[in-house]
């Protein structure tokens, strides 16, 4: 069964450093998403992406964040200058079609620890 994959599974970085989290969505999916979950808290939407453009972003997704689909398979989230409060689990998701009738398939997550 196709699945979303994410690398690395765990990333430790120092405050102020740049990190890039990588995702490979399911191959025939067209809509891509990033969510994060701070330990013990809700899963929070960050951004959705379609046709090489951001469709929607949350207040969390400020200028420090960017997303890119550099080739036909990868989808990346970059945090330019990490803060302690960026420590969280980051989930990539994809869906076949954008819309409310379609489930989102989540990856296993990248645990980001900022020290």
């Amino acid at each position: 069964e196709p699945e979303v994959t994410q690398t690395p599974s765990h990333q430790v970085t120092q405050m102020g450093q740049e990190v890039i989290l990588r995702c490979v969505p399911i191959s025939n999916h067209l809509y891509f998403y990033w969510y994060r979950q701070i330990l013990g808290q809700k899963v929070e939407f960050l951004v959705s992406f379609y046709n090489n453009e951001i469709s929607e972003k949350s207040e969390i997704f400020d200028d420090q964040f960017s997303v890119e689909r550099p080739d036909g398979s990868n989808f990346t989230l970059k945090i330019r200058s990490t803060k302690l409060e960026d420590s969280a689990m980051y989930f990539c998701a994809s869906s076949e079609v954008g819309g409310r009738d379609y489930e989102q398939y989540f990856g296993p997550g990248t645990r980001l620890t900022v020290t």
Binding site: Y33, K42, V43, Y50, S55, F91, Y105, G107, G109
Partner: protein, 113 residues
């Protein structure tokens, strides 16, 4: 303000019984609602979706109801098994927001043998 709330207390039930989880929302209308399962350290896994004009949806041992007047969804697992132990998340999908899922905080279910 907009809210989506689930029972914050863990639900402990005996194997074979029916588990019922609640999801309430305010100031989202109309809405589609999805239910996901999350195991510790893992990503959410889609279970069921119910549309605003549907009252009930079933899939195997799972049943979801949706009352748009009460702004509430109930999620039932019948004949529960220890393998059903996990956190269950409800998520709203509002109109025209780029597929943005808005999650509740989840309810942890523990099924004892």
């Amino acid at each position: 303000s907009q809210k989506i709330e689930q029972n914050s207390e863990a639900l402990n039930i005996q194997e074979g019984k029916t588990a019922t989880l609640t999801c309430n929302y305010t100031n989202y209308s109309p809405a589609y609602l999805q239910w996901y399962r999350q195991d510790p350290g893992r990503g959410p896994v889609f279970l069921l979706l119910i549309r605003e004009n549907e009252k009930e949806k079933r899939k195997e041992r799972l049943k979801v109801t949706f009352d748009t007047t009460l702004k509430q969804s109930l999620f039932h697992i019948t004949a529960s098994q220890p393998a059903d132990s996990a956190t269950y998340l409800c998520a709203l999908l509002p109109y025209n927001q780029g597929g943005k899922l808005i999650f509740g905080q989840g309810t942890e279910l523990s099924v004892k043998p």
